[in-house]
Each structure stands twice: as structure tokens, then as C-alpha cells.
Symmetry: D2
Subunit: 407 residues, 4 copies
């Protein structure tokens, strides 16, 4: 028999860039009793989460909550706005951008993939100028949507979404702007309305600190208008009926009640801490992590400091070192899970997640596990990353007030 409720002595450190550790408080909320999804109590829950999630996306327009994991929300964004054979301009920033492109192919769209060639392309964010250049030549407006990833989970590189919007506008092009911030939401600053995004795709298991299982489409009026004419077949993902039922806090089909309890709690936690405080906390931990990597003498996967991710840091291994072998040592010896290198960088790097319910000492534990693991694996390191991170954290104050039992 398989024993699921076990772990070796002490806590496992789950420092992958998602799913991030689910706080006990959210796990407790998820254990509230399942209720009638058509009863009066449910409506109050529905309205609460539908309202709160708008604050997280920084939008005044509808946000769709799907009882499905993030990949589904990718499909929803495409199938609600596009028609078979439509050209979409996508940008290769890493593995998840590549998978989204593959999905567009599967759905019968014609994705065009911009980006630098080879693995080097995975070390930079979106080049908005390249998008502008491409759109300018599309005088027939065949390109129906521009799709970019805000925070590439596979690399630790973010992209400047506002710049992409400016590029589209500068080209005078009517394409929709679809953005994936599955791993960025509620960790990295994101502004759906201000940045002029038409559909933002996100999920539950990253900055929102929930288990996987719900995902989001934040909409613009232009996207809603597009959905009225989009020809891709859709039913489960269809926005219209959901928007209609959501007005009273309900869904056209059975919603994921217990995860919505968790979402309500996550919203209380995040908005209670203050969204901006959350962002500052992530930036600070990310900087501490990067200082550790530099002190080890290792390279950060993201080659452009302007777009370092506050969510995760990709750590490149020296030539000849198998990153997965290092990860395995760290996992087995120190109860620490790190993210693997994916696709083009498989075996070449590992990823340290520092998102969601993370604080200074959790990060320090993770860095200590990495540093000891590197030593055991025989990877030559220049100095103590742990010491560098401690120096930084000790010298900089935390963003938000600490313990506050009495309100």
C-alpha cells in the first residue's frame, strides 16, 4: 500500500516555482464543508472572490474563474477570441511560451514565433521593438493577437508588458494583447487595465498560494467584443454564460467550491498584507537569492537585470555539470525540492522558487540546502552565497509589519 500522509522528520522545503507551499491557513479554509453551489451561502462566497480577484489583476472588468488548472485558461484565452486559421504573434521566452505556441497549433491557429535563436533567447524578455516591427508590416491586419508571457516560469525572466502594448499601439495595429502571468500574478507587479491587456491568463498555485485547480481569464471590453465573433468552437471555456451567472455570484456549472474557499482566504491574506508590500517582499527575497548565486560564482539564467523575476531565479551550472544530478542530491539529502531545467536548458540549470508564502528564513534554508548540495556534488563555488544573502537581508528592512495578533 502507498502511504501518502508521511514525511521524514522535519518539514519539506518546496522551493519550486509553483505549486508554491500552501499556507496552513488556506488548507484550513479549503476544509470548510462543501455547500450547495446553488444555495444562498454560495452566492456570497462567489461575489466575494469575484470582486477580490479583480483587485489582484488591477482591473475593473470581469475576471473569469475556471474550475480547471492554468493550461485550461490558456486555451480559454485563445478559443474565446480567435477563429480557426487566425494568425497569432507569439514570442519565445522559454518553455511555457513554447507550450502555449504548441497549443495554438493544436487548436488550428497559425502561430508565428518571434524571439532570439537557441538557448540565448531564453535569457531575455520580450523585445517589444521586434513586435512593433512585425506588426507594422502586417498592413492587412492578419495578426489577430499578440501573445506573450509576463513571467517565464522556466527561466526566471519577466517581460515588459506595458512596452508590448505601446509597441502594438505605435504600429497602429488592432491585434488583441493576450498575456500569460500564471506564475507572476500576486508576486510580480501586474496591471491588467493600465497596461492595456485584453486577456490575462493566470492560475492558483503560484502567488495565490493555492493548490492547482483553478485558473483565470481577466478580460477587456475589447476581448469580450471579440468573443462575440470568435469562431473557435467552445463550450466549457465560453465566457458569456459565466459572466452572466457571475453577476449573482454563481456559475453555469459546478464550481470548485473548496478551492474558492481557499481563494477567499488567499485574497484576505494578500490584501491584508497589501499587494504592494507583497511585491516588495518578493523583490527583496529575489535580490537576496541573486546575491547568493553571484557569490557562488554561478551565472543567473536571466541575462538582463532589468527583467529579473521576483518569483524565481534560474541558476546555470558550469559546463559539464548535470544540474539534475545536483538537484537530486539536494532533494535526497536536504528535503528540498528545486525546479528542473526544462526544454532547451534541461540539465543545464535549476530553478529556485521564492514566491508566495515565503519569508527570509525559508529562503535562507533553501540557499543553505543549495550551497551544501553544490559542495557535496563537487561543483566549485567561489564563496558562500548564504553569507552574501544574509548580509543583504540583515541590512535591509522587511517591507511589512510582522506579527499582529491583535487587530
Amino acid at each position: 500500500m502507498i502511504q501518502l500522509d508521511f514525511h521524514p522528520a522535519g518539514r519539506h522545503f518546496l522551493q519550486i516555482p509553483g505549486p508554491s507551499p500552501v499556507p496552513d491557513r488556506i488548507l484550513r479554509a479549503m476544509s470548510y464543508p462543501t455547500i450547495d453551489h446553488r444555495g444562498p451561502e454560495f452566492g456570497a462566497l462567489g461575489l466575494k472572490v469575484l470582486d477580490g480577484i479583480k483587485k489582484i489583476f488591477k482591473t475593473k472588468h470581469p475576471v473569469i474563474i475556471y474550475p480547471a488548472s492554468g493550461t485550461g485558461a490558456w486555451e480559454a484565452a485563445l478559443s474565446n477570441t480567435l477563429s480557426p486559421g487566425d494568425t497569432v504573434l507569439m514570442y519565445e521566452t522559454g518553455q511555457f511560451a513554447s507550450l502555449w505556441k504548441k497549443m495554438a497549433d493544436n487548436l488550428g491557429l497559425k502561430p508565428e514565433f518571434l524571439g532570439l535563436p537557441g538557448a540565448e533567447g531564453w535569457r531575455h524578455g520580450v523585445d517589444a521593438a521586434a513586435i512593433e516591427t512585425r506588426l507594422r508590416v502586417d498592413t492587412g491586419h492578419l495578426v489577430k493577437a499578440v501573445c506573450v508571457v509576463h513571467n517565464e516560469t522556466s527561466t526566471g525572466v519577466t517581460s515588459d508588458i506595458a512596452a508590448v502594448r505601446r509597441a502594438i499601439d505605435a504600429a497602429g495595429h488592432p491585434a488583441l494583447l493576450l498575456v500569460d502571468t500564471i506564475s507572476g500574478l500576486a508576486s510580480a507587479d501586474y496591471r491588467h487595465d493600465e497596461w492595456g491587456v485584453d486577456v490575462t491568463v493566470s492560475g492558483s498555485q503560484k502567488g495565490l498560494m493555492l493548490p492547482p485547480g483553478i485558473s483565470f481569464n481577466a478580460l477587456s471590453p475589447k476581448a469580450i467584443e471579440a468573443s462575440r465573433h470568435a469562431g473557435l468552437p467552445r463550450s466549457f471555456w465560453g465566457w458569456d454564460e459565466i459572466i452572466e451567472m457571475n453577476k449573482n455570484g454563481y456559475w453555469p456549472y459546478t464550481p470548485n467550491t473548496n478551492l474558492l474557499y481557499g481563494l477567499a482566504e488567499a485574497l484576505d491574506m494578500i490584501l491584508g498584507e497589501g499587494l504592494d508590500n507583497v511585491f516588495v517582499r518578493h523583490q527583496r527575497l529575489a535580490e537576496a537569492c541573486r546575491r547568493a548565486v553571484r557569490a557562488w560564482g554561478l551565472e543567473i539564467q536571466c541575462a538582463d537585470p532589468a527583467v529579473y523575476s521576483p518569483v524565481l531565479t534560474g541558476v546555470m551550472m558550469p559546463e559539464g555539470v548535470d544540474a539534475d544530478a545536483v538537484r537530486k542530491i539536494i532533494y535526497e539529502r536536504f528535503n528540498l525540492s528545486l525546479g528542473a531545467g526544462l526544454g532547451k536548458v534541461k540539465g543545464r540549470m535549476f530553478r529556485i522558487g521564492h514566491l508566495g508564502d515565503c519569508n527570509e528564513l525559508t529562503l535562507m534554508a533553501a540557499l543553505a540546502g543549495c550551497e551544501m548540495g553544490l559542495t557535496i556534488a563537487g561543483v566549485p563555488v567561489a564563496g558562500s552565497g548564504v553569507s552574501a544573502a544574509m548580509a543583504y537581508l540583515a541590512a535591509t528592512p522587511a517591507a511589512a509589519a510582522p506579527l499582529k495578533a491583535v487587530a
Copy 2:
């Protein structure tokens, strides 16, 4: 602020036909720490649930587990096996059969809807002979699939799936047989392989006693073969990549880890009790419930005793009584949630769920709540349904052994 973690004194009785009450044991399992869905522990979990769920469907072929609620699995069944414009033969047994048909329309299929006219059609199961007759005239084999609902959640009527298969075979027709047993699985006897079903659709929040959020497609080799040529666009729902990754217990995208913990526990509970014992328990509680309804002098929605549902019982109100007003009284006075009449029978009936983690006294509580509520609402009743149900339960033994702390 909205307070979610509250209830008035005492336990709420959730006797809707799903979501059914989630046992504490499953809620606890769902609170195990979220793990790396690409790490070694996860593979063991994945293989366990993928193997166990086959026993529930009584199949040797792959069962797909989606991180999405049941409606998504409907779409998956259609989009993996059919092409735009395909004719599908569906059968109107109630609201959920109607919604599935509407989905087929939305996806660009051509559903043809058999069934008796008016509300009377909602009181009977599928007429296999009618299906055979229809298929016999389809000499060109334009009908690509026959879609039926095994347990109509909106009415409490089941259908004889083996008979439908015999009808298709008798007609010598190659159509696929797609069956929805979202609310029947693990409550009513179901045999995917023996009955020759090609795709069975189900969900988590009924007989499996989980919160909503995962759903299933059980496949046949013929269905898998069909998926190689089916032309409906699909990506998230695509079987092929999932089947491939499932071989090692993983998924191509982030699975719903915490609900899979719950599923593993549910499998232990159901297979521990014995699937056949579970069915006998449901049949016994359903019979007790029907005796109560008859003693009240009210009509059971299902007009054919051969296909009474073991999952729920639809109770028709006398002419002139608003069933929803009665339900409201029962909810507000007695902390008891019942299912509403849907679609054609809205306001004409209510539904008592007796599925999943239900036992004799929980049912008695529900029946007492109904009986008191009917009295308060001024609905004339012939006699005590509660007494009739007690007489039956006291006279018949429980299926399975009770408490067994020591194994």
C-alpha cells in the same frame, strides 16, 4: 466582511444530489502538503489513483483524470472523438441530457435529440428500442456517436446502458457509445468494459465524495482509435499526451494534486467497504426514501420502478404547491439543503440526495426535515414517511460490517 467559516449550531445536512458531503477523512487527505508534481513522490500518487479509478469504472483501459470539473469531461468526450458537423444521437432524459446536447451544439456538432415529449419524458429512462430504430435507418452511418446519461441527476431516473449497447449492436451500427455517469459512479452499479461503453464521463463530487474539481473520461480502444482522426480542435482535453505521461504517474500539465490526495483516500474508502457493498447501501437507502415519499402520498418523479435511481429521489409536489417555497422553509428552519427542480420541472419537485457518505440516520434526519417542512408549508401528506422509512430500515440489515477500528 464575509464570514465563511461559520454555521449555526449543529451540522448542516447537505442532501442535494451532489456535491455530496465530503467525509472528514477526505478533507484531511486533501490537506496533505502540496508536492512537486514532477518529483518522485508524485509518481507514486499518480499511479495509485490511475490504477484505483479503473476498478471504480470496471475497466482495464485508460481512465483520464482532468483537473477540471465534470462539464469539462463532457466536452473532452465529444472533442476527442468527433469532428465538426458530425451527427450525434442524444436522448432527452432530463436537464443534464439537455445541457450536454446544448454543448454539442456549441461545439459545432449536429445533435439529434430522441425522447418523449414534454415533462413526461423526464420521468423515464432511455428507450433503447428507439435508439435501435433510429440507427437502423442510418444506413450511411452518419451518426457518429450515441450519447446517453446513465443517472439523470435532475430527475432520479437511471437508464439501462447495457441495453443501449445491445441496441447499437443489433442495428449493426458503428457509432460510439458515450455515457455520462457523473452522478452515478461509485453509487450505482456501472461496468464500462462489460457494457461496451466507449467513453464514460464522470466527476468527483458525487459517489466519490470529493469536492468538485476533477473529472474523468474512461476510454475504450475504439474511442482511442477514434481520437486519432477526430477533427474537433482540442489541446487541454487531448487524450494522447495525457495517456503517454500517465504511464509513469505524471501529467503533461499541472495536475490538481490536493484533489488527487482526496481521490486516493476515496478509493481506499470505497474499495475498503467493497464496491458491491456500496451499491447495496445506496439501494437500501433509496428504497427507504421512496417508502417515505409513498407514505406521504406524494409522487416519485421516476415513473418506472425498474430504473429508480439509488442516488437521489425526485419528489413531485401536488398541483399548486411551489416546490421551491417548500425547499426554502426546510433550508431555513432545519438546516437541510435539498435539490431544486430544474428546467422543465422547476418549482414542481424537489430532489433528495442519498448518495456518497450517507447512512441510515443521516437519511432519517433528512426525511424528518422534509416531513416537518411539508407540514409547516401546509402540504397535505397522507401519513408519516419517516415512520415508513424506519419500518423498512429496522427490518433490513445493513450491507456491510459496521465499525472496525482494529484490522
Copy 3:
């Protein structure tokens, strides 16, 4: 191996007069992380529960919270106020009064036991006049304390505590009044200050809806004064150091942190419902239960309607029927736990608890289980108790407002 986290299908109905079922909400509170019992957060928790518990006892004086079960609080009441060889006047109302007397013997006190002879004495409350009579002849004031049980858990009989106080005063006697309301607190009206009680003893696992493990001494200034001179040796139970440390919300030794979390939640629940509403709810359920017993044609253990317990009802079996055999049938067939007859009434009666987190349908379930069990056991019953209880509950409104998700 012993499997603890199991139960047969459906919920167990724990209808013993304590421990009462612990609401999920309290179980969740008890799973908050254990904190430093000397840190700043703890003080806030301590002050909250120390303040709230006073409202439950209706006192302005200190209430001691022991990290020990109720029997310990009995010992604390005696050892803090009395000296070896002291005479204490106790009153036999049932098994728990008898056990408290046995404890007094064990501690070297001289208990004198009033009460009616034989089992008949267990069907009545305290006779305050008898106490007055006895105290009037104690002109030398050898009696140092009068000890009575407010709600006899073994019988379902309460006693009029205010009358006992008046009796002591009428006799002009200085004896302390010590009262056990372990099973009465937060279910039956209780007024520590108004009734002039010197020490009230209570526990967590009854009306407070917590698991066993903490217990209480509510004090009067006179009791505190007595403790300065009381000669029984004590350390763990000593009030003085606890009172001193409690001023800031701390304890002199390690408190039972997680149960205090549960207590804080229980206080929120009870004071949120309103203590008076809680009492009315208990009275109403108790009356419904008694109507069932009468309809069955069985005798209620309590012979005096003026002192029926709102917490539990003792049901006497006809001559020749073994009450424990009936209980066993009910337990094994219907997943329902009832209280056994204890001491003088062992095998002659069983006890139905209707306290704490109990509502109408839970009671109806319990009564249905009893009625079916009586039938199976062949106990002749005059009519349907379940019907009688339903008639009463349908005719009387609930005390407090029901569901209120939005505050």
C-alpha cells in the same frame, strides 16, 4: 495495525452527554500552529479566553483554566479551599456526586452525604431544605463547604443552585458553596455571581464543544480568601500563582495552547449565537426528546419536571430489559452512541445527549436510531416518539437566526 482514521459510510452520531461532537470549526482552530507560550502572541490569546470565559460563567471574578480534564478541577476546588479532616456536606444526586464524594474521602476530608435512599434518590435534584436543616444544627460551623452538582450527567436531573445558596444563608452558616456544572455550563443557564457560588467546577467537552483536556474553577472573593488558609497540600492546582500570571494572559506552567485556540473559537461561536439563545435551543431540543420518550411510553429518569436537564435525557427501560443490550444494537446497527446507565442504574436506563453543537435534525436522527433500535430489541413501545418530537419541533420556532454568511 490499528486504523484510527476510519469510519463506516456516513457520519457517526455521538449523542452521549459528553464529550459532545466537536464542530469542524473548533477542530480547525485547534490546528493553528502551536506558539511560544511565553511570547507576545500568546498573551493576546490568554487574555481573550480568560475574559470570554467569565461571560460564560456569568462572573466578574477570576476563572482558572487548568490544562487538565474535569476531574482535576474537582480536586482543585477542594484542595484550594479546605484542610485535612474538614467536614463537607455533599448531596447524592447520582454517579458524579458519588464520585466527587469518593474524591473528598481520598483527599482526607470528611464528606457527609445527604440525599434520598436507593435509586429513587437519583431521580430528584438537591433538596435545599434538607441542607438548611443540616446546617442549622451545625452551630459549631464544622461544615466547611457544601458541594452540589448542578447538572447530573448520570441522570439528566438538574438542581436549583440559587435555592441552595438561600438555604445556606437562611441557616446563617459560613460554609462555602462549591458547585459542579461540568456538563451544564454553556448548555443550561448558570450564574456564578448572582447565585452566590464560591467555586464552580466545569470542563471543556460538554457545552463548550471542545475535546476533553481543559477544566475550570470559577472563584468568589470568599473562596480566594479561604485558599490563603486552606491546609490541603497543593501545587499544580494552586490558584494564587495562576491568578497572578493570568493578569497578563500567561500561566506559570505550560498551558494547553491548542485547546485554548479551540476555546477561543468556542467562545466566539457561543457568544455569537448569544448565550440565552443557546439555552433556549437546548431547552427546545430537550423538550422534543422528552416528548419522544413519553410517546414511546417509557419513563424519564428525572422524576421532577421542574428540574429536567436541558443537556441529556435519561430513558428508563421496562422491567426485564437490559438497557446496555439495547444500546449495543443501536450502536452496531445505526452508528449512534448513547450514554450507559452508571452505578445504581447500570443496565436500567440509557442516556440521550442533546447538548453542544446539536440541532433539530441531529436530534431527529438520534431519536430515529433509538426508535428503530427499540423495535429491533423487542422493547414494546406505545407509539412513535419520532412523530411526537417532529410535531413539537414543527410547531415551535428555532431560537436564533439561522444561516448568516454575510455579516
Copy 4:
């Protein structure tokens, strides 16, 4: 209102020497439904924990489990074996030895306190030779018991219990040997039978990883014999009735059911890891911690390396540094709770707990928090303790096998 279910972003690190962090697995077990403590299921639970706890104490004789916190078990050990006015020989190793002596005074015993004078005495374990010397002159055998603390929670110093037994035997003295290992049990090697201890006192909230609320007396036949004649009054703490009822797994009064669930789970966890593996793990983490302290150039409170505690490490501050001010910085800046200096060493040292459910990275997090806090507080440190600890942990293998999802 006070908000209890909160914490700032990320996990709190509770590194006090008890209560130690309660693993989620135990919290889940504690949320099993409370059952009838006189029903058949309970007996199975009772026998399981009563049997398992003997393995932890390494005894074949009865172990009493009290529904009361550890201080109560101190009182139980004294009151079951001694009579008013009895002389007991105690040994001052720190604050808890002093409190136990104070309790003996309170109970009317005559404790005699051995030990080195001043704070220096708190840096060493028990001097068995001094005990032997004292007993040799007690030719009249007035000393009825020798009481020592095995693991001084206030200092991080252990004592050699076997040596104390040898000393008593060498003196040919009949005194009982009573030992407090409240904070040592299940973390430091302990052998009740082999070491000839008569009563061992322990609690739940340390190596057993439970919340506070249950405590233990492990007995010897000689202790049981002594209890037949001991004259201190007792009732709640009395062994005889408990031993009798425990034979079938029950208690004479209401036990702490939910904590016993937790205890059953803790036993499964500890015996599953292997008690010896648990000890090795503690020794290894303690050594890493001490290396950190030495690298900082700070003094370890325990002056004798032979009796370093595997449970906690006392860290002395340089002259003029207020240890509590340092602790406060660490708590507020880094979400880390450390133990305060108590009694004679208040403000002079802090204590790092590394017991129970602790592993390498949790310890590293704690040490990083200390190191950063020392820096911020301006305490001069010689070098990086974190680096020293990492060097040790990377160079030494873990005791037990790590993750094992499949059994």
C-alpha cells in the same frame, strides 16, 4: 477582535525547546472525531498508546498517561510515592530542577537541594558522587527519594541517570529514584528499566511533537509498592485506579481523546523512523548547532561536553549584551522564536531548540536567523556559524533514509 489564525507571509520558525512544532500529520490525527471514551473503539486506541509509549520509555512496566500538562506529572510522581514531611534529595541543575523543588516544598515535603553554588551550577549535570556521599551518611534512611532532571530545558545540560542509580546502589540506600525527562524523552536516549528509575516524568510537547496537554509517569514495581503506603493525599493523580482501568484501554475519568489520537500518530512516526535513528538525528543537529555557536565565538551554556543536550543549546551572550533584546530583534525581524534565559541566567543567554520534528534546513534557517540577528544587534561575532554548521552537515550523512512514499 483578536485574529488568531494569521501569520505574516511565510512560516514561523518555532525553535524554542518546547513546545516543539507539531507536524501537520499529528495535527490531522488530532482532528479525528471525538468518540465515546467508554465505547469499543476507544479501548483499541487506549491499548495502542499504552503499549507504544512503553517502547519510548524502554520499560515493561506501566506508564500512566495523564490528561494534564507536564507539571502535573511532577506532582503525581511525588504524591504517589511520598508522605508529608518526607525528606527528598534533589539536585539543582537549573530552573526546572528548582521549580520541582519548590513544588516539593508546597506539597509539604522536605527537599534538600544539592548542587554547585551560583550560576556556575547551572552549567553542569548532576554529580552522582555527591549524591552517593550524601546518602552514605543517611544511615537512618530518612531520604525517601532522589529527584533529578535528565535534560535541563533551561540550560541544555543533561545528566547521567545510570550513574545516579549506581551511586544510590553503591550507598546501599533504599531511596526511590525519580527522574524528570520532560524535555528529553524521544529526543535523547533514555532507558527507564535498564537505568533502574522508579518514576520517570515526561510530557507531550517536546520530543513527542504533540501540543501540551498530556503527561506521563513511567513506574517501577518498587514505585508501585511505595504508592500503597505513601501518605500524601491524592485522587486525580492516583495510580491504582488508572492502572486497573488501563488494562482494557480505558481511564477512570475522561481522557484527552484527541491528544491520544495525536500520541498514536506520534508513536507511529517515531517508531517508524526508529528510536535510535531519532536519537542520532538529534545528536547530529545539536553538534551542527554547537559548531555554529563556537564559530560565532560565543560560549555554550553547558560547560561539560560529555553532557551536551541533543535537545537544545544554550548560547551565552558576551558581558553587557541583553540576550532578551537580541531575541526580540530576531523574533520581530525574522519570524523566529528562541527560548529565553530563565531564573539565574535571565537576560544572559538564549536557547536554540533543535528537537522533535526538526531537520537540517530548519536548523539552518534558525541559525541564519540568529546570525543575522546578532549582526543587527551589534553583538561581535568571530565568524560565520552558519558556514560552520553547513560544513558539518554537508560532511556527515543523515541517520535515516529520506522520503519513502511507497512501502
